[in-house]
C-alpha cells in the first residue's frame, strides 16, 4: 500500500517534470494544506504563510526537473523549500534570533505548570518565542508528523543534531510554561 502510494507519487512527479499541469494540480491539492500549515506555524501569520506556500509551489513547478523522487519524498523537499524561505523571511525582517546555542534552562518538574489555563494563543506565543531552528524542529516532528530523518534532512543537520534541537525546544517550553504559571 505504501509502495503503491510512493509509486503513484513518483508517476505524478514524472508527469510534472514533463510539464503536465493536471499532475501538478493533483500534487498541489495534496500538499498545499500541510505546507501552508508549516509556514503558518513558523511565521504565526496566515497571510505571510500563504506567500511562502505560493513561492514553494512556484519553485516546485519551475525546478521539478532537479528533484529525484528516489532520493527523498516530495513532502520532505517541499518542507525544505518552505523552511529555507521562512529563514530568508526572518533574515529579511531581522527576526532571526540565532539563539540556538544558548544554554537551555534547567529541567524542572512539570507538576503544576500545565493547567487548563494554557490556552491556544498562549501556547502559540510560547512556540513563537523559540529560536527558529528549534521551532522548526518541533513543528516538523510534532505537528507535521515527519520522521526524524526527514526533519533532519529539511534542516540540513544530522539526526543527533536534530534531537539536540528538539530536546532544547521542549525543555525551553517546559521552563517557560512553568515561569508563566507562577
Amino acid at each position: 500500500m505504501i509502495a503503491d502510494a510512493a509509486d503513484q507519487e513518483a508517476a505524478l512527479i514524472a508527469r510534472v517534470q514533463g510539464g503536465d499541469g493536471a499532475a501538478f494540480q493533483l500534487l498541489l491539492q495534496q500538499n498545499l494544506p500541510v505546507i501552508h500549515q508549516y509556514a503558518n506555524r513558523m511565521l504565526g501569520n496566515p497571510t505571510e504563510a500563504a506567500d511562502i506556500a505560493q513561492e514553494v509551489f512556484i519553485r516546485f513547478w519551475q525546478k521539478s526537473a532537479t528533484f529525484d523522487p528516489s532520493r527523498a519524498k516530495l513532502s520532505t523537499w517541499l518542507h525544505q523549500i518552505a523552511h529555507n524561505l521562512c529563514m530568508d523571511f526572518f533574515r529579511k525582517h531581522s527576526r532571526l534570533t540565532g539563539l540556538d546555542e544558548l544554554d537551555e534552562p534547567a529541567s524542572q518538574p512539570l507538576e503544576t505548570e500545565l493547567g487548563q489555563q494554557q490556552d491556544n494563543e498562549h501556547m502559540k506565543s510560547l512556540i513563537s518565542e523559540l529560536p527558529e531552528r528549534q521551532r522548526s524542529a518541533l513543528i516538523l516532528c510534532h505537528y507535521q508528523g515527519l520522521s526524524n530523518r526527514q526533519a533532519a534532512a529539511i534542516l540540513d543537520v544530522s539526526v543527533d543534531a536534530l534531537e539536540s534541537l528538539l530536546s532544547r525546544a521542549r525543555r525551553t517550553l517546559k521552563h517557560n510554561l512553568k515561569e508563566q504559571s507562577l
Binding site: G18, G21, Q25, H36, H142
Partner: protein, 143 residues
C-alpha cells in the same frame, strides 16, 4: 535502554511512541513495561504533548491561494506548450495516434461524400489540363 537514554528520547520526541524513531520505540515500550517507575517521566512528557496539541490552527480556506498558484504556474505556459502537453501526455497514447490519423479520416470522408458526374468529369479534366481535344476523339469516347 537505560533510564537516561529513555528520558533523553522522551525529551526529544515526547510521550507518543508513534513519533519516536521505529528503532527505539519498540525497545522503549519493553523497557517501560519492566520499569514501571519510568512512567513518571512519561506522564511529564505527556503533559507537554497535551499542551502542544492545544495549539491548534484555524482552518484556512485555501481555494484562493490555489488559484493564485495555478495562475503563476500552469496557466502561464505558452499555448504551444499546453497544446504539446495535451497532445503528448505522459501516459495516454491515443491522442497522438488520433491526430496522426486525422488527415486520412478527413480525406476518406470527403472522397466518399462527393457526387461525381462521370460523363462530364473527363471533359472537364481534359480541358483543365489544357490538352487539345478534337471533337472526333470525343465521339470515339462516347461510343
Amino acid at each position: 535502554m537505560n533510564r537516561t537514554e529513555f528520558d533523553y528520547l522522551l525529551t526529544c520526541y515526547g510521550a507518543d511512541f508513534g513519533r519516536w524513531p521505529i528503532e527505539h520505540s519498540t525497545i522503549a515500550k519493553l523497557a517501560l513495561e519492566s520499569n514501571p517507575a519510568w512512567q513518571v517521566s512519561l506522564l511529564e512528557a505527556r503533559r507537554l504533548d497535551d499542551a502542544l496539541d492545544k495549539s491548534s490552527l484555524e482552518d484556512h480556506h485555501l481555494g484562493a491561494l490555489k488559484r493564485r498558484i495555478l495562475a503563476e504556474t500552469i496557466y502561464k505556459q505558452s499555448f504551444l506548450d499546453r497544446f504539446l502537453h495535451w497532445l503528448i501526455p505522459a501516459e495516454v497514447l491515443w491522442r497522438p495516434a488520433l491526430v496522426a490519423c486525422l488527415p486520412v479520416i478527413i480525406g476518406l470522408s470527403i472522397g466518399l461524400n462527393i457526387d461525381i458526374d462521370e460523363r462530364y468529369t473527363l471533359e472537364e479534366e481534359l480541358s483543365l489540363t489544357g490538352l487539345v481535344v478534337e471533337t472526333s476523339t470525343l465521339e470515339i469516347f462516347d461510343e
